[in-house]
Symmetry: C2
Subunit: 274 residues, 2 copies
DNA sequence: CTGAACTGTATGCGGGGTACACAGTTATCG
DNA sequence: CGATAACTGTGTACCCCGCATACAGTTCAG
């Protein structure tokens, strides 16, 4: 099913293997563009677009209309070009998605983590990540089918490792901690976006007065006291916990981050004792 | 864009508002079937299928061929019916996905958590969740666009809360802890599946000897010492950390779980002191 | 100057989800 | 006991999607 060989970009003729000018080996498809290892020839007409143009347009569409409605045709229309013209810049939609994902983490390598202690630094790292995601919520809907290898992703991971400098953790443990925090952050951002979408949809369909359900109301309707006693209690306790005005997603997020940081601290102390 | 009103299931005639036999209010579309509040009429020919048949077939397809190739037509073929016949049981593909997701957590309400302490119980809860996901890896690829309200999801959350009985945590904090652990577990399962897929793909394309890249090899190629010093060190340290034979995903997962549990423990002790 | 390399375009294919009209089946009601 | 309304599965059709391919026009290398 999978083509075993494919010409780099041109669909015209196989184009004799380029002389591998760079000392670097050929990367698997998709990663070459990401790492700037795919050059456009110098012949032919001037290009009317650039890869960044395409990516920027795609991000614009995703930001304003959501990832579901993002299609090649939609991006092309945004740019005033034909659908197929995009394939001169990008080999597939999946590659475009990868580029978008990488682009949304632009500047990850340059950011400066404030804080004297690893804990402060790591906390602000997590917060920055969350902010980045919130700016492009479609990130949480991306069908990422491979471990992150985009340059900005790696840069961000590197920053996370940097935050743990001097913590005394083993390198591998640092990486695990980074992965743990990232997982949580991504997931939390997604749930926040879920809620926002549900709310938006409910607001739009406000015409049907009885058809609007808040999450809370649904939980009260569904979590009956017999099968779900604990959830039932939770659903009916309006001012639950210590959050006074109901439910603040951001506080929720910080709670999780601080719990994780506590866990990391425990690990560090454990290591220190040995 | 959104239909403001839609007949329950039949596409034929509007079918005068049913007399709301149950005392429960009408649920938003999608949730009614999930909670067994959509009844099939008694007239007409016998049904050749049942909702569970459809869901089971869909799960079968997803398990063996992946979520990408799951289409209505594929499920119908699996059952020996026409594509459109499925719409007599399910209003949309999205609903089918919700049902699959709910079905994969079957038995969540009946499972028994072993352990005397909250920590043992919560740990085994997380492990069970991970196992559940690993049995149906497509769960990690599901486009879930709403907070979890399926009965089995709620049952599983309830179980998690139950694990925290006697921990002394506030209800809201318990829920947060549950969310934290779930986030991590889902994300970790997804990354494991990513890796497995990448490996499978590499193995299949083994013909191109130089085209096979392991994640490690790629990291070594890409994480140059200048821009990514810490990642570079990590990539080139083969026997990193304490895992002897390279990289054991399961140990990785348990590491994260134990870190989170440490964090929870810290919180509990903090609360206890007040 | 010629031809190779490249550009954007137009067309078409296979596949997806699902609206809709239809013929056949069954329980209910007059 | 019909008649009718509710329901079943089917076939067709529509629109959208990603992308292969063929093409005409443009630019640079030799």
């Amino acid at each position: 099913m999978a083509e075993s060989e494919r010409p780099p970009l041109s669909g015209q003729k196989p184009a004799a293997e380029p002389a591998d000018t760079s000392p670097r080996a050929a990367l698997p498809p998709g990663l070459d563009l990401l790492w700037g290892r795919r050059e456009a020839g110098s012949r032919g007409p001037r290009r009317g677009l650039s890869v960044s143009d395409v990516v920027a347009a795609a991000i614009r569409v995703a930001d304003t209309e959501g990832l579901e409605t993002l299609s090649m045709a939609r991006v092309a229309k945004e740019l005033g070009f034909t659908t197929m013209s995009l394939y001169r810049y990008v080999t597939s939609k999946e590659e475009l998605l990868q580029l978008m994902w990488n682009d949304s983490a632009q500047g990850a390598g340059e950011l400066i983590l404030e804080g004297e202690t690893w804990r402060e630094r790591l906390r602000s790292w997590a917060i920055i990540q969350r902010r980045l995601i919130d700016q492009h919520p479609w990130i949480t809907r991306m069908p990422m089918a491979a471990p992150p290898l985009a340059p900005n992703s790696l840069a961000f991971v590197e920053k996370g490792l940097e935050a743990l400098d001097g913590s005394g953790l083993a390198d591998a443990d640092k990486l695990r901690v980074i992965g743990l925090l990232s997982s949580y952050t991504l997931s939390e951002a997604r749930m926040a976006d879920d809620a926002a979408r549900a709310a938006a949809e409910a607001a739009q369909a406000g015409g049907d007065a009885k058809a609007t359900w808040t999450y809370e109301a649904l939980l009260r309707e569904l979590a009956d006291a017999d099968r779900f006693p604990r959830l039932h209690r939770l659903a009916w306790n309006a001012e639950v916990g210590d959050a006074p005005s109901g439910y603040d997603e951001w506080l929720e997020f910080l709670f999780g981050v601080d719990r994780i940081l506590d866990g990391v601290q425990a690990l560090i102390e454990e290591v220190k004792d040995e």
